[in-house]
Symmetry: C2
Subunit: 318 residues, 2 copies
């Protein structure tokens, strides 16, 4: 693991660095879900993390790793999702500016959320070229540091702290599962889990309709994502380069799941655990529900990534 | 308090009796909700209790208080709600029969839930007379003991264990709030809270559209309920006689809330705490949201009663 872009020591340092600003989230287990899923399953509830998603971890690690001089110039990112809110909160906690580039058509709720957390929103046209040039203009003008949502060693180290906490509480786990979008969470999870428990089975999960990371891992060659169409909106991004290297080195298995499976798993978690999770969180649960991975009574840990969902319209409502 | 039908010692005994069978539920707090609600608010999450509601506490206390000879004949109740599931689980844990009288038109999901927990369902016509005579027939035939959903000293003592746990964790609370349906939870909460912290303000809450308990408390005379129409389906019952006596003696305040307030409070809790609560749980939150009770920065505890809700149609969806 010494040739990987992030080490376990980086994750341990991140845990200390971010502790004052993020929650140690609860771990839930349910007899009924154990029966349905075929083994003991512990759920790490990052839906109850600050800003409602694990992204608070990576953003705080990145922002609090900056020198005072660097931080004073602010930070910048382009995102309309959980990373935008996470970076706004982290910058606010450090007392510096967060410039968030968002497409003009971003959902109003997400815009309001970033604004409430003190983020300075810069709207751009909804194209990749437009948001990248908007970011570059801000960096040139202010000297702000770019914090990439996933292809960043400090962000990956921060995301790994969720698995670190889970394995501290549940050292008996035989499997650990998380979803893959850009690969930041899965990379951090893999590094932490392999270091803490070398025998653990590390399993990545992805929607079959957004399987670029699975294709990259299977081919052992990075594959560009096409425009994926999945209800797991957090996983529509393409695997980052650092994530590709880390997942290649550390994953034991990688399974994909159907949209129906994601929907059923999401509803099952709401019904039984009585918690609000977003579709991305349900992807590893779907892998167990669809028996893409047979636990055979073993103990698995699942990282529930977030709970930011449109309550006006749920995926199982036609 | 010595003339009340339930003592604090009864609640302490209940806590020991039911501990092997129920969860010690989490207590949540959120900075954002504190800002919105005007004080520090601790939420006791009985939505994450077994069967998804506090009713598991009272049912287990009643069933495990029976002698072996009494228990062997089984237990019976009429309910199509959370008490039915709670009694089925408690009887199953004791290894005895639970006869659950339900109207023929009970929602299929509730019937399935009771059946999955091992309850023996007896259908009857959807009238009070029919369900009472069905209960009496079962008692005459089997010798089963009736466990009333709320007008029962052992049930009240069991429900009081939620407040006991909350005040153990949060001794600093200045207020404690819960909703009133039949009065079992509010009675147990009042007895526990007054005994543990004599200075605490005990506040009952009820939907304005189902305000029979409020009318009874205000008039200091028990008032029959009319047929209430509220989205808080768990609170459509009429205050029991024991509850009337206890609430008269111990409440500091009693406030009622609007249907819109319940809906807004329910959605707010889902959005911010990322947990699934049923409309009844949102009633005390609505009291704070609508400033029916002004915390002025003080610390309040709210018992979130349950999380069993129809996920196909949420109250804020037209």
């Amino acid at each position: 693991m010494s040739d990987l872009p992030v080490s376990f020591a980086d994750i341990q340092a991140a845990a200390v660095r971010i502790a004052p600003y993020v929650h140690r989230t609860p771990v839930l287990e349910s007899r009924r879900l154990n029966e349905i899923l075929g083994g003991r399953v512990a759920f790490k509830c990052e839906n109850q993390q600050r800003i409602g998603a694990f992204k608070a971890r990576g953003a705080h690690n990145a922002v609090f790793s900056l020198s005072d001089a660097e931080a004073a110039k602010g930070v910048v990112t382009h995102s309309s999702g959980n990373h935008a809110a996470a970076l706004a909160l982290a910058a606010s906690n450090r007392g510096v500016a967060a410039h968030i580039v968002m497409p003009r058509n971003a959902p109003k709720a997400k815009v309001e959320s970033v604004r409430r957390l003190g983020g300075q929103i810069v709207f751009c046209e909804p194209t990749i070229a437009a948001r990248e040039s908007a970011c570059e203009a801000i960096m040139a003008e202010t000297g702000a540091v770019l914090v990439h949502p996933y292809d960043d060693a400090l962000v990956i180290a921060g995301q790994g702290t969720a698995a670190l906490e889970l394995l501290e509480e549940r050292p008996e786990l035989d499997f650990i599962l998380a979803p893959v979008g850009g690969g930041g969470l899965m990379s951090g999870t893999s590094i932490a889990a392999r270091a803490i428990k070398p025998s653990i089975r590390i399993v990545a999960t992805e929607p079959a309709q957004a399987n670029d990371a699975w294709r990259s891992w299977t081919a052992k060659a990075w594959t560009a994502g096409d425009a994926p169409n999945t209800i797991a909106d957090g996983l529509r991004t393409t695997l980052g380069q650092r994530g590709f290297v880390i997942l290649n080195a550390l994953l034991d298995d990688f399974v994909t799941v159907s949209e129906d499976g994601i929907r059923d798993a999401m509803r099952l978690v709401w019904e039984v655990l009585k918690i609000v999770i977003e579709p991305s969180s349900a992807v590893p649960v779907a892998a167990l529900l669809e028996r893409k991975l047979d636990l055979q009574g073993a103990a698995a840990g699942v990282i529930l990534t977030g709970g930011n969902v449109d309550l006006d319209r749920l995926p199982w409502q036609a």
